[in-house]
């Protein structure tokens, strides 16, 4: 066990990690300059996970957030989330998610299922009712399907299109990214809700507000916000790494 961890930390890995953290921060700022509605601040972490292994990925994530804290204290309490992202990217890399090409129909399926469940999730949340005792009940699925049939069909088509045009042959990387995003949303919510009262001072606060207004408590609203923005964000990050590794010279990959 310890030997395999030690084997990940070669000189090359140790050199790669600072560069990966710098990539995280440089791209994170670039995204803000291009005014894109995502974070994409874990591309370097995913890259280390894919190239060097899960433990190196986890260390990169944790250190990235702590170092970022030197100018933005907000990132520090979330260091464990970044570590888990790196860890999962490493496991994805071991399974070959960044090398294998997936059939295109799989990408379409993944996209469709993802947008479909996202829609279901948002609709279930916004249609939830809270009675006087504070007990929240969610609407029955069959009722939702019949009431919003058109929206669900649109969601499936849009998701399929996203899968076809965006994921293309990177379906395996995409699905690992989705899973990572869901995990990240779940484990970051308690910290976001408890330490920061559910706000980050950024655009996603509006989402928290919307879920809050529909009757969720803070923890549930933050988790719901994360479930909407995180999976998509992490899917994009994993896709970028997949693209990068495909465009690397073969000589580099051989090492």
């Amino acid at each position: 066990m310890f030997d395999s961890i030690k084997k990940e930390f070669t000189t090359r890995t140790l050199v790669l990690i600072p560069i990966a953290i710098a990539i995280n921060i440089a791209i994170g700022e670039l995204v803000v300059r291009l005014k894109l509605p995502v974070y994409l601040d874990s591309i370097g972490t995913v890259l280390v996970g894919a190239l060097a292994g899960p433990w190196a990925g986890a260390l990169t994530g944790a250190l990235a957030n702590i170092i970022w804290g030197l100018i933005n204290p907000f990132a520090v309490p979330f260091f464990y989330v970044a570590a888990v992202i790196g860890l999962l990217a490493g496991f994805a890399g071991r399974r070959g998610a960044f090398e294998k090409e997936s059939p295109q129909w799989l990408s379409v399926l993944i996209g469709a299922v993802f947008v479909f469940s996202l829609t279901l999730f948002i609709l279930a949340f916004t249609n939830a009712t809270t009675d006087e005792t504070g007990f929240t009940s969610y609407p029955a699925m069959a009722e939702l399907f019949s009431r919003y049939a058109v929206i669900f069909i649109v969601a499936i088509v849009v998701g399929g299109a996203i899968g076809y045009f965006l994921l293309q042959k990177g379906g395996y990387a995409g699905i690992w990214g989705l899973v990572t995003g869901i995990v990240a949303a779940i484990i970051s919510a308690p910290t976001a809700a408890y330490v920061f009262g559910g706000v980050t001072g950024s655009g996603t606060d509006l989402l928290v507000a919307a879920f809050r207004a529909s009757g969720g408590n803070i923890l549930a609203s933050v988790m719901a916000q994360g479930a909407v923005s995180d999976p998509f964000d992490k899917m994009l990050s994993f896709m970028v790494v997949w693209l990068v590794l495909r465009s690397l010279p073969a000589r580099y990959k051989a090492q």
Partner: protein, 260 residues
Amino acid sequence: MNSFSMYAARKSGLHNLHPLTKSTLALCLAIAGLVLPGNWTGYFLVLCIVFPLAFWGKIFTRFSRSLWNVSLPLAISLFLIQSIFWGESEILFTIGPIAFKEEGARFALINMGRILLVMSDFILFAMSTRPDTLMISLKQAGAPSGIAYIIVTTLQIIPRFQRKASTILDSQRSRGLETEGNILVRIRAFIPIILPLVIGSLIEVEERSIAIEARGFNSNKKETSLIEIPDTNTQSLLRRIFIIISMLGIIARIAWQLLI
């Protein structure tokens, strides 16, 4: 040197403290703010401990400006979201159709204390501690040298990477890449900018690892340091006390939560 940190060089007692003393104190304060009961503990600790320490470190102006910049957007966001969307209690005041409720506003105020404490605590630490001395002291306390290398190198190369990203952005623009316009245009601009950045840096990894191995990075001999970090027995005692208080705080909080 253009470095990635908030460090503000001053000659003060706070700056002269051992970096580990400051980091354990920062940890202890943050944990205290999170585990102690009472609604106003956060504000109390900021006023009675963090602010005087900032005065002592002669960084009060810079410290408070930076704290203000970081927490103001959070405070506004927190207040709006909690007071508009939460609680059915009395209405404080209304602007048009929007009603601000007391319960939410109170909740926001209580939470802001905790946020302020965590933020001010980190800013104080980052402003009064030179990153390289922190690393050397961590190494002397027995942390693996790989970790120290990673942190010091990262701090040095981040500014370079930020410049590199700007250069690539500008050069792709001069080749005719559109980076402004609707969201689709901006998304399409993203890939031609980050691919050169990431691939270029991966190629650099090879050069760097050869360079540091040639300088004895993997040597097992004990290293010596150019910078001496003064330490006292009182400080090492203080560090132990801070760590014990933090651990007791967490245990007490968990026990309390389980019992009640």
